[in-house]
């Protein structure tokens, strides 16, 4: 078919255009800094794997359950992300007027997802095989092949599921009825600048639409809060509820923070500074996060009143983590998923290095957050 490779061509052109638009100095920083960091991370992981080799080789639970589940989850995530990327290009607005049938566009997306999945699977197989060699696991190539098979299967299943969903093949927003009446978010969203959160959350005319995703997320978070509180109250210990409050609170904040208005000329040409807009965007997600935190924190306090410092410390950490994520969210303003991954990665890495170098690593994390905040502010002011 003539158009089969169109999605790949579009993605390639976008990559080339992105590289050309990046200043050479920035490219050099990314290549040298990123390359150096990657080399250090690989070396660090190899050393850690080598040291833990004997223990890892004989961990039956890890090889029979932990790793297969991890490979499958990674495959699902990658398949979902790649097929979404390809679908968005195949159904790009500028292609709407072209005489391409939906089936043809879907086929273009399938070809694109397959072409992107193949090198990913190869990289995955090589990484797993290499890790097995490092820890001295017998039949390392077979493990690499098995991991790649599992990854490819879950990648293919997720991609197939995503590419077959008809909801993505039509403009869902256009087919929905226009909301009527006064939006109830009005009271919460009228601080200066008004309606900023409705805009950030892409609520049509400020109306919240019920969806299974919203219902499922609310249900899961509610159950988690109640479970955490119940475990604490039953065991008369503050720990579980405080941890549930902290983990759930940061999750609520990450899921609800959207910062794409920071990139809009509507705000950038208006007489309002970056900090004010940023704080305004953070405001409602922070309120939601603290609202979630209150139930488990209250349960923790009730379960063990003498350990009041545990929920207090948990609340303070929640504020710190929310603040740090708010910086990542603003920096990756158009890609909240990338912001979440980067933040989780930075936290995990800081946690890992803290074991080796102590809490001084946290200064590095704080410096990173400050640097990102400064760059985001500069971008808001100067484009």
């Amino acid at each position: 078919m003539r158009h089969d490779r169109l999605v790949l061509i579009l993605l390639w052109r976008e990559l080339v255009a992105g590289l050309r638009a990046t200043r050479r100095r920035d490219l050099a920083w990314i290549a040298l800094g990123g390359g150096g960091l990657l080399a250090y991370a690989i070396a660090d992981i190899v050393v850690a794997l080598h040291a833990a080799g004997p223990k890892l080789r004989h961990d039956q639970l890890l090889w029979t359950l932990g790793l297969p589940i991890t490979f499958a989850v990674l495959g699902c995530l990658a398949g979902n992300a790649m097929s979404r990327l390809c679908l968005s290009r195949a159904f790009a607005p500028f292609l709407k007027a072209l005489p391409l049938a939906s089936a043809e566009r879907r086929r273009m997306a399938e070809v694109g997802a397959f072409a992107l999945g193949l090198p990913l699977t190869l990289v995955f197989a090589t990484a797993v095989g290499f890790a097995c060699v490092v820890i001295g696991k017998p039949l390392a190539p077979a493990w690499g092949l098995g991991a790649a098979t599992l990854f490819a299967l879950s990648f293919g299943t997720a991609a197939f599921w995503r590419l077959r969903r008809p909801r993505l093949l039509v403009d869902a927003a256009a087919s929905e009825a226009t909301p009527v009446g006064r939006p109830w978010l009005r009271r919460l969203d009228r601080a200066r600048p008004s309606w900023l959160s409705s805009w950030a959350w892409k609520l049509p005319a400020g109306h919240i639409r019920a969806s299974w995703k919203l219902a499922a997320a609310s249900l899961l978070l509610g159950v988690a809060a109640i479970l955490g509180a119940w475990v604490s109250l039953a065991g008369r210990t503050a720990g579980p509820a405080a941890v549930a409050g902290l983990a759930g609170g940061i999750l609520v904040f990450m899921l609800s923070l959207r910062c794409q208005p920071l990139g809009s000329p509507v705000l950038r040409t208006a007489p309002i500074g970056f900090t004010r807009v940023w704080l305004r965007l953070v405001r409602l997600p922070l309120q939601l996060s603290l609202a979630f935190f209150l139930l488990p924190a209250g349960a923790a306090l009730a379960a063990e009143p003498s350990a009041w410092s545990v929920p207090v410390a948990s609340g303070l950490w929640l504020l710190v983590l929310n603040g740090a994520y708010a910086v990542f969210g603003a920096y990756f303003l158009n890609a909240p998923f990338v912001a979440m991954l980067s933040f989780a990665g930075a936290l995990a890495y800081a946690g890992y290095e803290t074991l080796e170098y102590g809490r001084t690593v946290l200064i590095g994390l704080a410096a990173l957050a400050f640097f990102l905040w400064h760059r985001t502010r500069q971008r808001y002011r100067n484009g």
Partner: protein
């Protein structure tokens, strides 16, 4: 009269690539300047530079005597820019967008040059619907209304008037002309509709290859506008001379 906009030796571009260079321009209250130029001549880059959307590589911009680089928030309070239609916040309704801009500018959402402007622009039936549902012309109307909110001293329209229907275009021109005629405001109207400039503006400048290649003062513009086609011919001649040079 006090200068509303002072541009000195402006050089600007994208990622170190210079697009406009060495531009000097000053606008006084009452001025209504038509900004002309071919595609890619640098009109939009110039407007982005004077509205603080891209950094200046050289020179300075002052709005109402406030330096844009030194005090961006205060300087930005001095102009109203009609945002390009595709850059409007699509999920919000027209009314919410106006409330958002009004809350930023610290004025009432109905602080407009004319109390019935929304009706005159036929926005009444669209105002509570999401902007995503608007046509290009309706988006342009709401962008213009937002630019007029709070009656800032400098009004900037980057080809926004081009997408309007005849009635709305006439209404908007009437409002802008009245504001500039009051002597309290000035306007920059970037447009490709060359023949409309003598009737609408009292000054015009032509941009070519990133710099100002010619300008017309009020008398020259009035003279050129006396007979049909004279101003267009004069613009085309300037463009041809520039191309030949």
């Amino acid at each position: 009269m006090a200068e509303v906009l002072t541009v000195k030796e402006l050089t600007a571009g994208y990622r170190g690539r210079i697009v406009v260079r060495g531009i000097d321009l000053s606008l006084h209250r009452g001025d209504m300047v038509g900004l002309l130029g071919a595609n890619g001549s640098g009109k939009s880059t110039f407007i982005r530079a004077i509205t603080g959307q891209i950094p200046l590589i050289g020179g300075s911009v002052a709005i109402d005597d406030i330096d844009l680089a030194a005090a961006p928030e205060r300087a930005k309070a001095g102009f109203g820019l009609a945002i390009e239609p595709h850059e409007l916040p699509a999920p919000l309704s027209g009314r919410q967008y106006i409330e958002l801009v009004a809350s930023i500018r610290g004025c009432a959402p109905n602080d407009l040059p004319s109390g019935d402007l929304l009706e005159r622009l036929d926005l009444g039936r669209w105002i509570d619907r999401p902007i995503a549902e608007y046509s290009l012309g309706t988006r342009a109307k709401i962008a213009i209304v937002a630019a007029l909110l709070g009656r800032p001293p400098l009004l900037i329209f980057d080809e926004t008037l081009n997408g309007l229907d005849p009635v709305a275009a006439w209404e908007v021109k009437r409002v802008i002309t009245a504001l500039c005629a009051s002597g309290r405001h000035a306007a920059i109207v970037s447009t490709h509709v060359v023949e409309a400039v003598p009737a609408l503006c009292n000054r015009a400048v032509l941009m070519a290859e990133g710099s100002l290649s010619r300008s017309w003062d009020a008398a020259q513009l009035a003279e050129a506008g006396r007979a049909p086609g004279v101003f267009e011919e004069s613009v085309m001649r300037a463009l041809r001379m520039r191309a030949a040079a």
